[in-house]
C-alpha cells in the first residue's frame, strides 16, 4: 500500500518548502519591495498549497506556488513606496577604494534605485529575477506564463530603460 508521493504527506511538503521558499520570497520581494509583505505572501502561497495538497502534483508545486503568490500579490491593494537596499562594501575587496571611487559608487547606487523605481512592476521583477536570482529566460517565462522570447525581451527592455534613466540623471 505504498502511496504515490503526495504533497499532503508532511515530509514531501516540508521538502518543497525548504527548496522553494527563499526563491518565492525573493520573487515577492522584487514585486513588493517589502520584507514583511513578501514574507506574508510567500507564507500564504504555501498555505494555499497545503489546502490544495490533494489537487497539486509534486512536480507542479513550484509553478503553483509562483502563480498563487503572483495572484495573491495582485489581490493586495496598497503598496508602500519602499526602496531596495544594496550591500555596501562589495567593492571593498578591490584595491580601488579611494574616497572618490566610493562616492561615485554611492551615487551610482542612488541612481540605480531611482531607475529601478521608474520601471514597471513587471519589468522590475523580471529583471531582478534574472540578475539577482540568476534565473534563465525559460524560468521567468514559466512564472508569468509567457514565451521565452517575451521574457528575454522584458529583461532586456528593463536593462535598456535602467541605462537610459541612469545616464539622464
Amino acid at each position: 500500500m505504498k502511496k504515490h508521493s503526495n504533497i499532503c504527506q508532511e515530509a514531501v511538503f516540508n521538502k518543497i518548502y525548504k527548496e522553494q521558499v527563499q526563491s518565492l520570497r525573493n520573487f515577492m520581494f522584487f514585486k513588493t519591495k517589502s520584507t514583511d509583505a513578501s514574507y506574508d505572501l510567500a507564507q500564504e502561497a504555501f498555505l494555499k498549497l497545503w489546502q490544495n495538497c490533494g489537487k497539486v502534483a509534486p512536480n507542479k508545486a513550484k509553478s503553483y506556488l509562483f502563480t498563487t503568490a503572483n495572484n495573491l500579490f495582485l489581490n493586495t491593494v496598497a503598496h508602500k513606496k519602499v526602496q531596495f537596499k544594496f550591500t555596501q562594501g562589495v567593492k571593498k575587496s578591490q584595491d580601488n577604494n579611494s574616497p572618490e571611487f566610493l562616492l561615485e559608487e554611492k551615487e551610482f547606487g542612488q541612481k540605480l534605485q531611482k531607475a529601478l523605481d521608474s520601471l514597471t512592476q513587471l519589468q522590475r521583477t523580471a529583471f531582478l529575477l534574472s540578475r539577482v536570482e540568476g534565473k534563465k529566460y525559460r524560468e521567468i517565462a514559466a512564472i508569468y506564463n509567457i514565451s521565452e522570447k517575451a521574457a528575454g525581451k522584458r529583461v532586456l527592455d528593463a536593462l535598456e530603460k535602467l541605462r537610459e534613466t541612469i545616464e539622464n540623471l
Binding site: Y17, F29, L47, W50, F84
Partner: protein, 304 residues
C-alpha cells in the same frame, strides 16, 4: 547585431567566452556591467525555512487539514454475513408491507389483475389497496366503494371493508359499500361475511344487505349489472333509485305527488338518461319531464 545577441546571452547567464570578448570590446557594455554588479548586491530578506515552516504549521491548526486518512472499521467475516442477512430480511419485510393503492376514475370501471391472477373489477370512484409483494402470504384487499371479485383458488381471500370482513376461498362475488351500507352478492361458490360478530354465509345466487338488518335477496345475473354499465335494484325504495340516477348522470331530480317509498325492482342503463328514466318511471306508472339540461321532474299524471 553581434553585440546585441551577446548581450542577450549574457543577460540569460549563458554567454560564452567569445561573447564576453565581443562585449568587453564594446564601450557601451561598461554601464550594463555596472548596473549588473550593483543590482546583484541587493540585500534580500533572509527567509528562515525552519521558523517559517513552524509558523505555517501553526496556521494549519487553525484551518482544517484537507486529507485525513479515513478510519476503516473492520468486522469479522461472520458478522458481515449476519449484518447482510439482517439487512435483507428487514428490507423484504419493509417491501412486503408497502401497500399498493388503486382508485378507479370517474365514470369508468377499472380491472386489476392480482399476482395470483385473481381479478378485481372496480366501479367508478371505488378504491382498493393491497400488498403486492406480500400477496403470496396474505390475500387481503381493503375496499371502499364497489367492486366485483373473481378469486382464483388458493388461500383465504379477504376483503376488508369499514363494516365487515368478507372472506372466501375461490369464487366470484360483488361487494358494495356506501357509508354504513354493505351489500355482498355471490355469483359463484360460497362467501363468508363477518359483520358485528356474526358470521353469515352467502351462497351463489344470493345477495345480502347487511345494514341495518340482514336482508337476503336473489340475483339472477351471472355478473353484477354495473359491469355492463347498468345499475340494478331488487325491492329498493324509489328514493334510493332516483338518488343513484342523480349521482350517475349528474342531474337534479325533483318529484311531485309521488310516494317515494314505492319499491322498485329492475335496472337502468348508464349510457342514456332518457332510457334510464323511462325504465324506472314506466313500471310505476309515472311520467317525467326534462326542464333544462340538468333538471328532471317526475310526477304522477293520473293524480293531477
Amino acid at each position: 547585431m553581434e553585440t546585441k545577441q551577446a548581450l542577450e546571452k549574457w543577460l540569460n547567464n549563458e554567454a560564452s567566452p567569445a561573447d564576453m570578448q565581443v562585449l568587453n570590446q564594446w564601450p557601451g557594455f561598461d554601464i550594463y556591467k555596472k548596473i549588473d554588479t550593483h543590482t546583484k548586491a541587493m540585500v534580500l530578506p533572509e527567509h528562515d525555512a525552519i521558523s517559517g515552516l513552524k509558523a505555517l504549521k501553526d496556521t494549519f491548526l487553525l484551518t482544517s487539514p484537507q486529507q485525513k486518512t479515513p478510519k476503516v472499521i473492520t468486522m469479522p467475516r461472520l458478522l458481515k454475513i449476519a449484518a447482510l442477512l439482517i439487512l435483507l430480511v428487514l428490507s423484504s419485510v419493509f417491501v412486503t408491507s408497502l401497500p399498493t393503492n388503486i382508485q378507479a376514475p370517474i365514470a369508468t370501471t377499472q380491472t386489476i389483475v392480482l399476482p395470483d391472477s385473481s381479478k378485481i373489477t372496480l366501479k367508478e370512484n371505488g378504491r382498493i389497496s393491497y400488498k403486492k409483494y406480500g400477496w403470496p402470504f396474505t390475500r387481503e384487499v381493503t375496499l371502499e366503494g364497489e367492486a366485483y371479485f373473481e378469486v382464483a383458488k388458493g388461500k383465504t381471500f379477504t376483503v376488508v371493508t369499514p363494516t365487515a370482513n368478507v372472506s372466501v376461498l375461490g369464487t366470484c362475488f360483488n361487494v358494495k359499500t356506501e357509508n354504513d351500507l354493505l351489500i355482498v352478492s355471490c355469483f359463484e361458490g360460497l362467501v363468508s361475511v363477518q359483520a358485528n360478530g356474526t358470521n353469515t354465509l352467502v351462497a351463489a345466487g344470493d345477495s345480502f344487505s347487511f345494514s341495518p338488518m340482514i336482508v337476503n335477496n336473489k340475483i339472477y345475473t351471472s355478473k353484477p349489472t354495473w359491469i355492463f354499465n347498468e345499475s340494478s335494484f331488487i325491492d329498493m325504495p324509489l328514493e334510493t333509485v332516483l338518488m343513484e340516477i342523480e349521482k350517475h348522470y349528474k342531474v337534479t331530480i325533483t318529484t311531485k305527488n309521488i310516494d317515494v317509498t314505492l319499491r322498485y325492482t329492475g335496472s337502468f342503463t348508464h349510457t342514456n338518461l332518457d332510457q334510464a328514466l323511462q325504465t324506472v318511471t314506466q313500471p310505476l306508472n309515472l311520467s317525467f319531464s326534462k326542464d333544462s339540461k340538468n333538471e328532471v321532474q317526475i310526477y304522477n299524471l293520473k293524480k293531477q
